[in-house]
């Protein structure tokens, strides 16, 4: 990891991400050879992110805005290591807690109690740590009465509560938030926002994607505006948000 300055925790250099549109639904050998013969195999490249470079410093609350399909989520996935970029370099320093889709690691057949342990393991936490934090998770999610109910009987808001409580139980160096605060009732959203704010104060770097421009304005100090996979504008929250709103 070669980060320019000590304060930079996330750095993307000339990162591009190409998806192969034609290969997307290519799932049998026959199809593969037919396409190969027709020479359609490597055509139709879809560029989700095009030569993007930016860096995030420690303590930043970095917002990403843009229309649907402009590459916001792809960027987050690249930062959190889920996707490997086609070209370019990504350097990340510190632990990452991705809140990309809440409850991704849940098995709906299991009870909440079992899922807390399983999801904790998915995020790389030890059993001991979860044992210690178990009560805190339950208390934060306010799901004490439903702990031994299979999660398939939960409402989506209830699932989100558990998931958020687990994911934020350890203070990560970098927290990645993708549009998750849209679920849950206002009371719980407030609670989540508060927890994120506490983390901000104690030095966690946050990368946030949201369509709620007011949320971005109130939380972030730096904003990047993506358009069709390219950076349209990057800088302070006020100017970028103004420009974005007026576009």
């Amino acid at each position: 990891m070669n980060l320019d300055s000590k304060k930079v925790v996330v750095q993307l250099e000339n990162v591009s991400m190409h998806f192969n549109m034609s290969s997307e639904k290519l799932s049998s050998l026959k199809e593969y050879f037919i396409k190969l013969l027709k020479r359609q195999l490597f055509f139709k490249k879809y560029v989700a992110i095009d030569n993007v470079s930016f860096s995030i410093e420690k303590g930043d609350v970095f917002g990403i805005v843009g229309l649907n399909g402009c590459g916001k989520s792809t960027t987050l996935k690249i930062v959190s290591g889920i996707l490997k970029p086609t070209t370019g370099k990504v350097s990340v320093r510190g632990s990452i807690a991705p809140l990309i889709e809440l409850g991704a690691g849940f098995d709906m057949e299991l009870t909440a109690r079992e899922n807390i342990y399983l999801n904790g393991a998915v995020l790389g936490y030890s059993k001991k740590l979860i044992n210690e934090k178990f009560d805190e998770i339950v208390e934060f999610s306010e799901m004490k009465d439903f702990l031994d109910v299979p999660m398939k009987n939960y409402s989506s808001g209830m699932v989100a509560r558990i998931a958020f409580a687990i994911a934020t139980i350890v203070q990560p160096d970098i927290l990645i938030v993708d549009e998750i605060l849209a679920v849950g009732d206002f009371h719980f959203r407030e609670k989540c926002t508060k927890r994120i704010e506490t983390m901000m104060k104690t030095g966690t770097t946050i990368v946030l994607v949201s369509h709620d421009i007011e949320q971005i304005e109130s939380l972030c100090n730096k904003v990047m505006w993506l358009e069709k996979g390219k950076i349209k504008m990057i800088g302070g929250v006020k100017e970028v948000c103004e420009a974005y709103k007026n576009s």
Partner: protein, 266 residues
């Protein structure tokens, strides 16, 4: 570099155990006999095959009671067949997780093999029961080599992980593998001396196929240690070792080469 891999692996050991635990819970949830099925199933299968082969086909002279011969071979082979086919789809089945969280992807393959291994341990209990029955009737004798059966078991485990890695990587790109694998394992099973004695094949034109079959060595050594009290010859041991370690490394190589592209295809 290696150190980073190791750290990554250690960090996800709880996940490995958690997923195995989950599979176990889900497998027996809402079944009346629960875990007993893990022991009952091999026994019932043994009864079926013994009936078919002894009563209908009149197979004789396997050198031991047929049911013992069958269940020792089948325990090991069924592990391989279960581990390989479940790890084959492990990447596809965990698509939702792989798309949203960073997890070393080989964990899913390893987990399926580990789960199948735990299942095999239960079948082993059933197998021991059958053997003990014949020890009491005096048709089978126990030998100290029984304590060495873990060696072929570990060999098969490593071999299965290797095959599982290859299959899971291929199946992401070509789902056809998933459909054909069931047929292939059946063929493979019949090419392994599980239900017929080895000497039934000697002199046959395709005898060399058996020599190329890795499972033959594992099953043969396992049975010899378990029942006959024979320690496998050095060249058997070396062949087994080379096969399983070789398969494992080929699997790792293939898997590592393509794993970054999984996410685009699942």
């Amino acid at each position: 570099m290696l150190k980073a891999y190791w750290r990554d692996f250690v960090r996800f050991i709880p996940l490995l155990m958690g997923l195995t635990n989950k599979d176990f819970k889900l497998k027996y949830r809402r079944s009346f006999l629960g875990i007993v099925w893990s022991m009952l199933n091999p026994l019932l299968m043994m009864i079926v095959f013994t009936s078919v082969f002894v009563i209908i086909y009149r197979v004789q002279s396997v050198g031991m009671p047929f049911s013992v011969y069958y269940i020792t071979g089948a325990t090991l082979f069924n592990f391989f067949s279960e581990a390989s086919s479940s790890s084959m789809t492990s990447i596809i089945d965990n698509a939702s997780l792989i798309k949203k969280v960073y997890i070393p992807k080989y964990i899913f393959v390893l987990e399926k093999c580990a789960f199948s291994f735990v299942n095999m341990l239960f079948s082993l209990i059933a197998m021991m029961g059958v053997i003990l029955f014949y020890v009491i009737t005096g048709e089978v004798h126990l030998h100290l080599t029984i304590f060495l059966i873990f060696i072929p078991m570990i060999f098969v485990f490593i071999f299965s992980v290797g095959i599982g890695l290859i299959l899971s990587a291929l199946s992401v790109f070509f789902r056809d593998i998933v459909h054909i694998w069931g047929v292939l394992t059946t063929v493979w099973m019949y090419l392994t001396p599980i239900m017929y004695p080895m000497d039934m094949l000697s002199g046959q034109s395709f005898e060399w196929v058996i020599q190329l079959n890795p499972m033959f060595y594992f099953v043969d050594d396992f049975r010899n240690l378990m029942i006959s009290g024979i320690i496998p010859s050095m060249d058997h041991f070396l062949i087994s070792f080379v096969i399983c370690v070789g398969t494992f490394f080929v699997g790792m190589f293939v898997f590592r080469k393509v794993q970054d592209r999984f996410i685009l295809h699942i």
